[in-house]
């Protein structure tokens, strides 16, 4: 184990590490003990409060319908945002200033605004200008806000993916006499897609996480919104409800994240691509990506 920060450890360093580990374990155990006792004081660890989740009754009534709504909104948003993002990303690379500049302005505008603001706007706009029933409005609003915001993020991902390809690719394509749109369609996009896939899957995690905003603020009946009625019905088991809901989110998103990194590793070793993979975080300013950051805003 050697890293940039420290060398392989000798006997003294090993002894010190054991001491640190012991101290950390004591601190962590103290924290855990405090959490458990305070939960116990409020009677949140009683079996009745956790039973519904083990016996499956809470699942069919509350969790499953909520999760279905979460997945529905996320999938819809992804399916619509991806082509939109591709169009805008390619438009930002256009040779014509009259296409490039408006596309850039639109993308930057929607990236600068919180997704909740877009959702609040969408709710009001739907109630004012359309006749969508008030039951469906939250779903439409959440989905619209997600599409507007994530299209612009995906546009940046597409742009970064295309720019990450070696310059020789398009130069060679031009040299054999392909037209501009052929260069884009046959040469750049197919290679960029493989480079972008991990970043796109990571963006799905962001979308899934953002659906919860609609649940908390816009009465969209998704997974998080099921906590309220659930904890009311099963006798104030707030902690248990939150724990189970958080675990579902973790399982869902962690599998997506793991899939993205598996994909990335596979693509890096792959023969079909240039081997360049856009880091999932190559595009700044998204909800979830904190690392990387090839492009500043």
């Amino acid at each position: 184990m050697t890293s940039v920060l420290y060398d392989a450890q000798g006997p003294r360093a090993k002894r010190r590490n054991i001491l640190y580990s012991a101290l950390f374990l004591v601190a962590f155990a103290a924290l855990l003990w405090w959490v458990i006792t305070s939960l116990n004081d409020k009677d949140q660890l009683a079996w009745e409060k956790w039973k519904p989740f083990v016996h499956g009754e809470a699942w069919s009534t509350y969790l499953w319908p909520g999760l279905l709504n979460t997945l529905k909104a996320a999938a819809l948003a992804m399916v619509i945002a991806l082509p939109l993002g591709a169009v805008f990303g390619i438009a930002r690379l256009s040779d014509h200033a009259w296409i490039r500049i408006p596309a850039a302005a639109i993308v930057e505008f929607f990236r600068a605004i919180p997704v909740l603001v877009l959702m609040i706007f969408a709710v009001a706009a739907y109630s004012e200008y359309t006749n969508i029933s008030s039951d469906d409005r939250p779903l439409y609003a959440v989905f619209t806000g997600l599409v507007l915001y994530n299209s612009s993020v995906l546009a940046e991902i597409v742009r970064a993916g295309i720019l990450s390809l070696p310059k020789g690719q398009s130069e060679a394509a031009m040299a054999v006499g392909l037209r501009k749109n052929q260069v884009m369609r046959f040469i750049l996009l197919p290679q960029a897609v493989t480079a972008m896939l991990p970043a796109i899957v990571s963006q799905l995690v962001v979308i899934v996480k953002d659906t919860a905003i609609g649940g908390a603020i816009l009465t969209f009946p998704e997974l998080l919104a099921s906590v309220g009625p659930m904890s009311a019905y099963y006798g104030a088991n707030t902690i248990a409800s939150f724990t189970v809901v958080a675990l579902i989110y973790i399982a869902l998103n962690f599998s997506l994240t793991s899939f993205a990194s598996w994909l990335e590793g596979r693509l890096r070793r792959g023969k079909k691509s240039t081997g360049a993979v856009l880091a999932p975080a190559a595009v700044g300013g998204t909800e979830s990506t904190g690392a990387g950051g090839g492009i500043s805003i």
Binding site: M1, V4, A112, L116, D210, T211, L224, S288, G293, S296
Partner: protein, 221 residues
Amino acid sequence: MFDFLQGYDLLGAFWMTVKLTVLSAVGSLIWGTVLAAMRVGPVPLMRGFGTAYVNIVRNIPLTVIILFTSLGLNQTLGVSLGADKFETVNFRLAVLGLIAYTSAFVCEALRSGINTVPVGQAEAARAIGLNFTQVLTLIVLPQAFRSVVGPLTNVLIALTKNTTVAAAIGVAEAATLMKSMIENEAQLIAISAVFAFGFMCLTLPTGLLLGWVGKKVAVKR
């Protein structure tokens, strides 16, 4: 044109957004640095804890965390963070939630910065006889900090936008005001434009300025 703004504390709402952002930014920088130190340190147990924390927190929606601070910590367990007024309690809870969430991303940004320093740099430093402290303070960390400005800027901008989620527990910030204004005034487009402009004033200059700084200080490899 903008006379519907009369009677609303627009600046106050955005000031609340700024307060949430600044306090959470400072808090998550501290806790995120501690987490990053754990994740890159030599103690396996701390590494495991840091990794677990980041992976768990990153995959939970911020909304779940913020709502939990209010419904779970405050109303069920009676945590009030030393405040007695309803508004102050919720404000502090929102900051706590934002810190807990954003720290995971700060940690990852710092770690990616440390990982950009080639191992050869440290090996060369050890080869000329520098000790551990010197390697860290003279060679590794200066390079890491310089490459971390860009990613941290992205985290800060995401945090600015994420403060709107505090509306879920009734903190009187910009998104809360926007919602109530749209309900009371028949000026949807104008109101949305005002709030969109407000957030752009917060995020775009930050992004441009720090992005420029990041480009300027980054180590060219």
